[in-house]
């Protein structure tokens, strides 16, 4: 309940922030967009388009009422409703997110387990160092390196671009997803590693060893399963992180998703579009984080009390 209230509060702040976005611009946005030669009528018409005519409280009232009706204004550039632009671009970003998370699980599980089991060997040390190096490398550099390696040198992936439709789109998505995973996998594998190490110190594991439990049954029931809760919870938060990373990744790989739309909108000073995307993608992240919180509380009751 507290978490729900908090999620709503964050969503409300997000709305206020998006509302203030246009209003706090130094100067008159209509004048900035139109330039010095604008006529009086043009300026008034633009103010209306941006929703910045009338008093601030009445603006806010109209803004909220429009949001409730699903009206996010129109893009200044294309004169297309913001919502329809988002509807067109969002699926690409969602596909990227799903592919990324799928890949994260696939890579992080074996790595985390191996890093825990061979913690004291050269592999464990190499993992520690490799993880710190990968996490600190900016995605816009590792992305370019991967393009250089896979697309330019061995022609294993397209340099950039996108084609809709599963499974054809995976050909365009796997490299961007791998790039994001250069950051996500080490983090997740480390979480898994430390919780397995913790579990291994528990008495029931010792008891299982003494009873002579062996093979897969031992690894799964006594080591892996009791250690999964923090990893699954982290995955939920990662989904939210990917939305943030997608902004830069989409530019590098030329994926026409929501992140690329946002960056273009910021460059073009397309204020209504920026406003709409900041609000909607922020809402998406808040929703994802809330769900992760729920799953976390369900898996690990201790987290609820905090």
């Amino acid at each position: 309940m507290r978490r729900l209230a908090q999620a709503f509060f964050v969503a409300f702040l997000l709305m206020v922030f998006a509302f203030l976005l246009i209003r706090l611009i130094p100067g008159d946005p209509a004048m900035i967009l139109l330039g010095d030669q604008a006529t009086e009528e043009d300026v008034i018409a633009y103010r209306k388009l941006l929703g910045i005519d009338g008093s601030i409280p009445s603006q806010f009232g109209r803004y909220v009422a429009n949001l409730v009706r699903g009206d996010f204004g129109v893009s200044i550039r294309s004169r297309e409703p913001v919502l329809s632009i988002v509807q067109k671009r969002l699926p690409i970003s969602l596909w990227l997110t799903v592919t990324t998370i799928f890949m994260t699980v696939l890579l992080a599980l074996p790595l985390g387990v191996a890093a825990a089991l061979y913690r004291r060997t050269w592999f464990g040390h190499a993992f520690q160092i490799g993880a710190s190096v990968l996490v600190a490398t900016p995605v816009f550099f590792s992305g370019l390196l991967l393009i250089l390696l896979f697309a330019v040198q061995i022609n294993f992936a397209p340099i950039a671009g996108y084609q809709a439709g599963f499974p054809a789109n995976l050909y365009y998505l796997w490299l961007p997803a791998l790039t994001i995973n250069f950051v996500l996998v080490p983090v997740l594998a480390r979480i898994l590693q430390s919780s397995i190490v913790e579990t291994a110190a528990e008495e029931f594991v010792e008891a299982a060893v003494i009873r002579g439990t062996q093979g897969w049954r031992f690894y799964w029931r006594y080591l892996l399963r009791p250690s999964l809760a923090p990893t699954i919870a982290a995955l939920g938060y990662f989904a939210a992180t990917v939305v943030s990373y997608a902004v830069i990744i989409e530019i590098i790989f030329n994926l026409p998703g929501i992140g690329m739309t946002l960056v273009d909108a910021v460059r073009n000073r397309d204020y209504p579009l920026v406003q709409g995307i900041v609000f909607l993608s922020g809402l998406l992240v808040v929703g994802l984080t809330f769900m992760a919180d729920l799953v976390n509380g369900w898996l690990d009751p201790r987290a609820k009390i905090r």
């Binding site: 702040l13 600190a136 550099f141 390196l145 939210a240 902004v247 900041v278």
Partner: protein, 291 residues
Amino acid sequence: MTTASAGISAVGQLRRFELRRRWRQLNAESRWGVVILALILLLSVSVPLLSPNDPYGFVDQPLQPPSATFLFGTDHLGRDLLVRVFAAARLDIALAILGVSVPIVIGTFIGTLAGTTRNRIAETVWDGLVNALTAFPEIILVLGIVAMVGADVRGLLIAIWISRWAQYARIARAKSLALRDAEFVQAAQVLGYSQLRILIRHIMPNVFSEALAYALSDFIFIIVIIGGLSFLGLGVTPPTPEWGAMLAEGRLYLRTEPWLILFPGFFLSLTAIGVALLAQGLERISKGEDE
């Protein structure tokens, strides 16, 4: 290092001794961090100073591969990449320090203020606000503010300042909650010092050390954000030498002249890795995991 020459004063010797003692306390990770950072700082100071080439100026035929005359090659406008990479190091590190230092002061001050107040309503509002701010998707928040303030260095710094203070405030509040009943604070109150003076002179210094530990990992995030936004064309813009902006320029020549992205990207990553190693090493020392 081993024999002290006659010219060195006692103070200098003492300082060296102190440095050596500090160095011994470090573990392998943090030592590597220090070495990497020292190397980058040294190069970023010396290379633009010693090289005759101007980071903005044409020197020779464009797009030359690395050679003995141009160690890192030349870029698409015929500028010396070596000088540009280390001129960029100066700018990026300076911007990142600027980006970290303002939120740490503001955040620590606000957090201490919130930690020492006994006003119930203020506490509730505080909780909601800071939790909300830390729950905000980071890059989207920064982009939103940049859209508002302007897509340039000033806008980028303001966006970082606004979006990064909350975490420091959180740390400071937790620490000062424990400090507000400490004996030395009570003593200061008995002495009749003003609330503000107690806050700034007595509580804040004690809170600062913890904030500084977090600042190291924040530094990595900020230097990457500065590079990232400049890469998107929304921060430092060409022709100014900046790692992210250089990557964006060099990206067009990825197929044929990959060194244009390899050098700036390598040194940006190396800086971040150096700070990460230092942070990790220091954390392990403070937890007492080594020895």
